[in-house]
């Protein structure tokens, strides 16, 4: 599609200056668009889980409410972990553009540690809730809560696995074209999860504790 447009534009502007349309040093790549489409479909999965929470979030079935269960300082700490991991991934991307493999790996490692910190805190929170008898089977509210936050946590888990795999590949093959492409895909995935988390902490936690 983009080729067609470029071709057409080049014909139209043939009399002007052709050099503006020379972009072959950085060819259009379908992978990034395809990955973006995957993220959009993932967005629909999260939308459905958000809707389930919106509908069921106040159905406590006589059980504990969000205001009684959620510990906002923990959530704030988790949000900070994820936000820091986003900016450190950004630093890794900048380092990869400057072709500095060591710095890229360093920032990816820091990103992974923040991701693990997020996951540990979330697992601790889940374990704490289940221990208190507020497991996913307690009420419709808790079912939808665990489904939504758990799905996000699963995505972060797979993102972390991907991150480690990519670090091994980078270590072995360096900043090749394929690895740079993978780095950009994971960048989109990681930042996308942060976007979803904005919805989670606002809609589930902050609005959940409001009377």
């Amino acid at each position: 599609m983009s080729d067609l447009v470029l071709d057409h534009a080049a014909h139209g502007a043939a009399k002007d200056d052709m050099k503006f349309y020379v972009r072959d040093h950085h060819p259009e790549n379908g992978t990034l668009l395809g990955f973006w489409l995957y993220l959009m479909s993932d967005c629909l999965i999260f939308a459905v889980l958000f809707i389930a929470y919106a509908v069921l979030g106040r159905h406590y079935a006589g059980g504990p409410s969000g205001a009684e269960l959620f510990d906002l300082p923990t959530v704030a700490l988790n949000t900070a972990f994820l936000l820091f991991s986003s900016i450190t991934y950004g630093f890794a991307m900048i380092a990869s553009q400057r072709k500095k493999l060591g710095t890229t790996l360093l920032w990816l490692g820091v990103t992974g540690l923040f991701g693990l910190a997020f996951l540990s805190l979330e697992l601790y929170e889940f374990a704490h809730l289940i221990h208190e008898g507020a497991g996913p089977a307690r009420s419709a509210f808790l079912t939808s809560f665990f489904a939504l936050v758990g799905t996000h946590g699963l995505h972060v888990t797979f993102g972390a696995i991907w991150l480690v795999t990519l670090m091994v590949q980078l270590n072995r093959h360096g900043l090749t074209e394929a690895n740079t492409r993978r780095l950009m895909c994971l960048s989109m995935f990681w930042h996308f999860l942060d976007v979803i988390w904005i919805g989670v902490f606002t809609f589930v936690y902050l609005m959940g504790v409001l009377p």
Binding site: G12, D16, F201
Partner: protein
């Protein structure tokens, strides 16, 4: 005329990164600082109990979330109308439309369902219960 303008812009931008926007230290820093501010304010509003009316607080923090999502899209995901010939933006708009329709529709329908099935409302008198049943769409 406008095509010519686009053309000049494409040249200026394409000169250093071929039309793709990967972000720089500056854009990541701006995005990060904005995100921290936009995250801190909603937490402060809720934890400090700043606004007494909880539905006002809810609307305000939803507004902050919407702004922060846009900030992330622009500064971290580098969304713009030019990348991939505009197809990413088109996919995003389509997704937002689907989500909006399903979200608003579900909440609307389910709210009315809840309203009609409220245990307290079916109880008062047999006559009114029948009336309730007839009112149900």
């Amino acid at each position: 005329m406008s095509a010519h303008h686009e053309h000049d812009h494409g040249h200026g931008h394409g000169a250093h990164d071929g039309g793709h926007d990967h972000g720089s230290m500056k854009t990541y820093a701006i995005g990060f600082i904005l995100s921290v501010i936009l995250t801190a304010i909603p937490f402060w509003l809720v934890m400090g109990n700043v606004i007494k009316d909880s539905s006002t607080t809810a609307f305000v923090i939803l507004g902050f979330a919407a702004v922060q999502i846009v900030v992330h899209m622009v500064y971290f995901l580098h969304m713009n109308s030019r990348s991939e010939g505009g197809w990413t933006m088109l996919a995003l708009i389509f997704t937002i439309m689907l989500v909006a329709i399903v979200l608003i529709g579900s909440i609307w329908v389910m709210y009315h369902l809840d309203h009609n099935m409220m245990p307290g409302m079916a109880a008062p008198a047999p006559g009114s219960t029948v009336q309730q049943m007839h009112d149900m769409p």
